[in-house]
Symmetry: C2
Subunit: 457 residues, 2 copies
């Protein structure tokens, strides 16, 4: 620990300069105009891996954005850690709510403010610098491989196939990922569950053109009103999703497990206060932590129709659209759920409109066991840095590729994330506390050390 | 008729050139950036009135956009016609659906294509040219006053006060308005009823920032889902508005009147076909024509929340907004209805969100009697041009200022419009058939003639 602390002290400014160069690239994977930025960002990662000490680093093409692969293989008898991260980021809308430029990193109040500061450029970059430290101090106890992709925020559509094509190259004992959050600054945690995701876009088409709402209003179905009605009908009074079959495969969590989860620190008043909401709202019969941890959901991520400019316009819009996603829990298949949604939505649409449902990306839920060398190594490493053992924690988020890794490569992942709930990932003013960034760089070499030792036994 | 036909033949090209100059000014009253265009458009109208033969024409300031006033007073013993029109137009979104430039008039397929071609630059301009004809041929049988405003599409907020301040100047026997449509090309009609309007904007505020839909979804109320639910609840299964008190003051139309209305030509299959809809939809127990003619409505004119760009974003939006308008029928007071909406909407919002309701403009409904000299004059004039007597017709649209005229000036209006249902007013590709434009110029002098004669009796 003394050694890594000293190394960080000597190199901190350079670490930030290098990270900032990466953050400045607007690598928004969901927007076609940023295609060149994706390539630029991948090239940048190649340089980072090479200069950190990789023997080999390549930008490898896929049918979508390229994957950056790097490695340092020191001894076939030692265990191999495969680090996964992503260089793509979320869109920055609504841009007017940012206090700084979304792609110009700024350090203020002990935090780095920038899109990607946490998710996932900042977190993935900790691995590059921890690796550099181990290489430079000759303390690397494992073979290391890096796999940094550019499509995580749009569902990792190309990575599964790329993994299948490079299965031999990617052989490893564990996949190490920092793309999740801890429960709190002083409550370290390891993510043992991720929700799956089914994401669809719906369009309700009414008349063949926008109409005058006076001349036609009341007689012609208004697609915006119809869409509202359809969306409203997707939840019942108990906050349960009404799509037939939606809950059929949901994993039942035992009362014992639920009691265990209930022991994790959580303060409902602080939660409400931090979000400035009058009350929480969700499925009846479950706590807030259960609603995000073990229960599936359905949320509108975007809705638009008609005139949304300044002032008023008395228009009966021709169509209405929404983006809707469902978070899934273990055993729910995202293809099946997207199909159930589509069938249900088409069935409940009135004859006065036409509805179209287009599936976007999806991913399966994931559960990680706690009785593995990787979990134990992560637990010990975090305990040494934070002074308290981490809590196993089921996150409400999704990293669809994690279950794909298990299916395609047969390798389990360990989700040792250093984000915080206040990092505003996916939101305006994304940030990442410097303390968490540096703690990550301290924790990672300890993980390697414990992992190598535990694998020897 | 021969005389006016010859005059039109000789001057048609010039009429169109002059109209096109007017149409090219993007006088969108709801968008602040077009403020200078409003003034420019008013100045243009002043020139039009002067060159047509007005003795006096002025651009008069109001607290909003200016009003253009013009007059030619020939004999205090003759009746006076006050022509009303408006020079402001609707926004042009969605602009990508226009086949031509919205503000570059084009004649094609016998129609003028441009925003404002019908509503109301094209229709108001017919009055200027009919007036010009009567002045030049020395056949003007009435005193004439013009009042052309610039805020009709945003509720005529300044005109009521301006009328009150200029009551003496505006003294007249009738207000003549062409800002409505005929039932069909071969079914001339005179609008005897207009619906009122209450227009509100609502905001549903959830958490204090956009959230990650995985980490918070299911536990924190999603404002877009909540808004959908609130909007859906505003109609019951019978298509009736659920706001308590909404129907309390609705005028009951007698079975005899309903039977009369049912005789107006209407083909439901053609109606559905022209809009390409599978079915109509509205309040149970009423026909399509009744739903727009004698019943109040509630329509979403715009809705927006969350991510509405390309691709996907897994965001739980901080807020959701909608523009909602209600068309009202005689006896419903728009202030009362807006207030009932506000109280109801605030009452039904769950504690997990905050809702704000902001009233936009509104206006009262209007009914015009058919036993007046003005109605008879309009009826005879249209019959002479179209070869068939016009049908009295209750429109679903609103011209809020018409009822204000009656309250403030004590003058009834006659709504002799030449638009067609296919003119796409308020929509992309607004157009106005040349035939209707020229028929209007032919009909108006006949109205003056019959009106002067009927007023003599």
């Amino acid at each position: 620990m003394e050694s890594v602390n000293a190394y960080i002290d000597q190199n901190k400014e350079r670490f930030l300069d290098e990270l900032f160069e990466l953050l400045r690239i607007p690598s928004i994977s969901s927007q076609a105009e940023h295609k060149p930025d994706m390539v630029r960002c991948a090239e940048q990662w190649r340089s980072i891996l090479l200069s950190a000490g990789a023997n080999r680093a390549e930008v490898m093409p896929t049918k979508g954005n390229p994957v950056v692969y790097g490695e340092k293989l020191i001894d076939p008898k030692l265990p191999t850690v495969l680090v996964y991260g992503h260089y793509d980021v979320m869109p920055v809308d609504p841009v007017e709510l940012w206090n700084t430029q979304p792609f110009e990193p700024v350090v203020k109040d002990g935090k780095i403010w920038c899109r990607g500061a946490d998710d996932d450029k900042g977190q993935a970059f900790m691995h590059a610098k921890a690796f550099e430290y181990m290489v430079r101090t000759n303390t690397l106890p494992c073979n290391v491989k890096f796999m940094i992709e550019g499509e995580e925020e749009i569902g990792s559509g190309s990575l599964g196939q790329w993994c299948a094509e490079n299965k031999e190259m990617l052989r490893a004992d564990v996949i190490l990922v920092s793309d999740t959050s801890m429960i709190a600054r002083d409550v370290p945690s390891i993510t043992t569950g991720l929700r799956g995701l089914a994401y669809v876009e719906v369009e309700v088409q009414g008349p063949n053109k926008d109409l005058h709402s006076g001349i036609f209003g009341g007689a012609v179905a208004n697609p915006a009103n119809v869409l509202a009605k359809l969306i409203a009908s997707l939840h019942d009074d108990q906050g349960r999703v009404t799509i037939p079959g939606f809950y059929d495969d949901v994993e039942t969590v035992s009362p014992e497990e639920r009691a265990d989860m209930a022991r994790a620190p959580f303060n409902l008043d602080e939660y409400k206060q931090s979000l400035e909401i009058g009350d929480v709202q969700g499925e009846a019969g479950y706590s807030t932590m259960e609603r995000v941890g073990i229960r599936p959901t359905l949320d509108v991520n975007g809705i638009w129709s008609g005139y949304i400019g300044e002032g008023s316009k008395t228009v009966l819009p021709a169509k209405a659209n929404a983006k809707i996603s469902m978070r899934l829990v273990p055993n729910q298949d995202h293809h099946k759920i997207a199909q159930l949604f589509k069938e249900h939505f088409e069935r409940i649409a009135p004859p006065s409109v036409c509805v179209t449902v287009t599936p976007h990306h999806g991913g399966q839920a994931y559960v990680s066991p706690t009785n593995t060398p990787a979990y134990q190594a992560a637990s010990r490493a975090m305990a040494e840095v934070y002074g308290v053992a981490p809590v196993p924690y089921r996150s409400g988020g999704s990293i669809p590729i994690i279950s794909t890794f298990e299916q395609v490569l047969g390798i389990k992942s360990i989700l040792m994330g250093f984000g915080l709930g206040s990092d505003a990932i996916h939101s305006p003013n994304e940030n990442y506390p410097l303390e968490q960034f540096l703690n990550g760089i301290k924790t990672i070499p300890l993980f390697y050390k414990h992992f190598a030792e535990l694998m020897k036994k």
